[in-house]
């Protein structure tokens, strides 16, 4: 973007994008999201301008193991929120291949009732190696959907194991979807994902072991200290295939939203979300600024080679880079 003409053109693209996003234009949103996924520089300027419109939607997350029924539950929930007259943005994350970098994004198959509904915007995202159960740009995509005016935004994580818990810092209400085959009480006692559910959704609850699973979670929750007035996670049984229990789940979600809005929980949630967001952007920028120079001059390659050759080590190299970088400033 060296010359002035290019820069003026870029400014125009940015300006147009912002206006179209505010007008709810889907094609522009689709393109912007791709730019965010590819970490294109111009998107940063757009996000700065969209940011003031962020933070107003009701945000709900669904996490849990692959095959537990997250997408199928999502399909039911979209329907319920639509019946309430709410417009919805949906982000569905699936994993990228660590080998080819490609991805098979299959969440839309389960979300079939709303494909032509103007009040629903669904975007699949590949994780592209980002850890934590989301994609790197998921937070930004959520902001784009908010800026488009969607009132409720639902985020489905990729199939999560024990520690993919970034979702808890992104959304207000977090649903942890489990199945009767989740394991015994010991699994329910473990740290990590078992701690992040505002609502435990026992899906496929018509299968053997459902009662035992509920008891395990209840037992684990009974050992957890709760402050007075603090939200106690609910356990809701569902069968996504038949729609059983979806009423209870909706009631639970709305009860938790009520709780969030009438406590300092909302403020705490906002604080955590912004903290995570700033941390991410900061790390990205630091890496970008430092490595951009190093890459261009071939220094990065020399540093790595010196470690391989045993002349240096990763700690020394990072110290050296930081020192030179800070001196330059």
């Amino acid at each position: 973007m060296g010359n002035v003409g290019d820069r003026a053109q870029l400014r125009e693209i940015i300006e147009k994008t912002i206006q179209k996003i505010f007008a709810g234009d889907r094609r522009t949103a689709g393109r912007l999201i791709t730019g965010l996924e590819d970490r294109e520089e111009w998107c940063k300027e757009v996000m700065k301008r969209l940011y003031p419109r962020a933070g107003h939607a009701m945000t709900i997350g669904l996490t849990g193991a692959g095959g537990s029924g997250k997408s199928s539950l999502l399909n039911h929930l979209i329907q319920r929120f639509r019946q309430m007259g709410k417009s919805l943005g949906v982000i569905a994350v699936d994993p990228s291949s660590p080998f080819s970098g490609g991805a098979f994004l299959g969440d839309r198959i389960r979300i079939q009732h709303h494909t032509r509904d103007d009040g629903v915007f669904i975007r699949s995202m590949a994780s592209r190696g980002y850890l934590g159960g989301l994609a790197r740009a998921t937070t930004e995509v959520l902001h784009v959907m908010e800026a488009m005016g969607f009132e409720t935004i639902m985020v489905e994580t990729l199939g999560a194991g024990q520690d993919e818990i970034d979702i808890i810092r992104l959304v207000q209400t977090c649903l942890l979807v489990i199945t009767p085959s989740m394991g015994d009480e010991i699994q329910a006692l473990k740290a990590g994902i078992m701690e992040i559910g505002d609502i435990f959704v026992l899906n496929k609850s018509d299968l053997d072991g459902a009662t035992k699973a509920i008891r395990s979670i209840e037992a684990a929750l009974s050992l957890k200290p709760f402050n007075k007035g603090e939200w106690r996670p609910r356990i809701v049984s569902t069968v996504a295939a038949s729609g059983e229990g979806i009423d209870d789940l909706m009631e639970g979600i709305l009860a938790h939203q009520d709780y969030v809005h009438n406590n300092d929980a909302m403020e705490r949630a906002a604080f955590q979300r912004v903290e995570q967001e700033v941390g991410l952007i900061f790390r990205d920028e630091l890496e970008r600024v430092i490595f951009k120079g190093l890459n261009g001059s071939g220094e990065k390659r020399r540093y790595i080679q010196s470690i391989i050759d045993g002349k240096s080590d990763p700690y020394k190299v990072v110290e050296e880079i930081m020192e030179t970088f800070l001196k330059k400033r």
Binding site: G101, A103, L105, R108, I109, R116
Partner: protein, 133 residues
């Protein structure tokens, strides 16, 4: 630092046609080739496919048809693509299609046709070299 651009493909079956083996095989192969594939599954209508292509910002739409109804659905998809300004999206059709229909389909605006039995490498190479952006 901008990451390498990924090719995004929307793969779908269309209409009343339950033969999804080929669509799944192609989706899987494109994934292996490093592309991001949104798989829509069975019984999609042209409007569903177009909406998904817009929201997902697809570079390629791939539709599989084994019901011999390609002359029913292809014109509708092309029409919807035009209406929605998806002129920079590649449109590929696969399945069981008689070679004598190829010229008419291409005239209608299909970019390429890969029938059952196509080798995978040419499909990947075709997409890589014909992407419009």
């Amino acid at each position: 630092m901008a990451e390498q651009k990924k090719i995004k493909v929307v793969i779908s079956k269309v209409g009343l046609d339950g033969h999804d083996r080929g669509a799944k095989v192609i989706s899987s192969l494109l994934k292996e080739a490093g592309m991001e594939v949104v798989y829509l599954g069975l019984y999609q209508m042209p409007e569903d496919i177009i909406r998904a292509a817009i929201d997902e910002d697809a570079d390629v739409i791939g539709v599989s048809c084994l019901s011999n109804q390609h002359f029913v659905f292809v014109p509708k998809i092309i029409d919807e693509m035009k209406k929605n300004g998806l002129d920079d999206v590649l449109f590929i059709v696969g399945g069981v299609i008689s070679p004598e229909d190829f010229p008419t389909l291409k005239e209608m605006g299909v970019d390429e046709i890969f029938v059952a039995g196509s080798l995978t490498k040419p499909i990947v190479e075709y997409i890589r070299s014909h992407i419009r952006r």
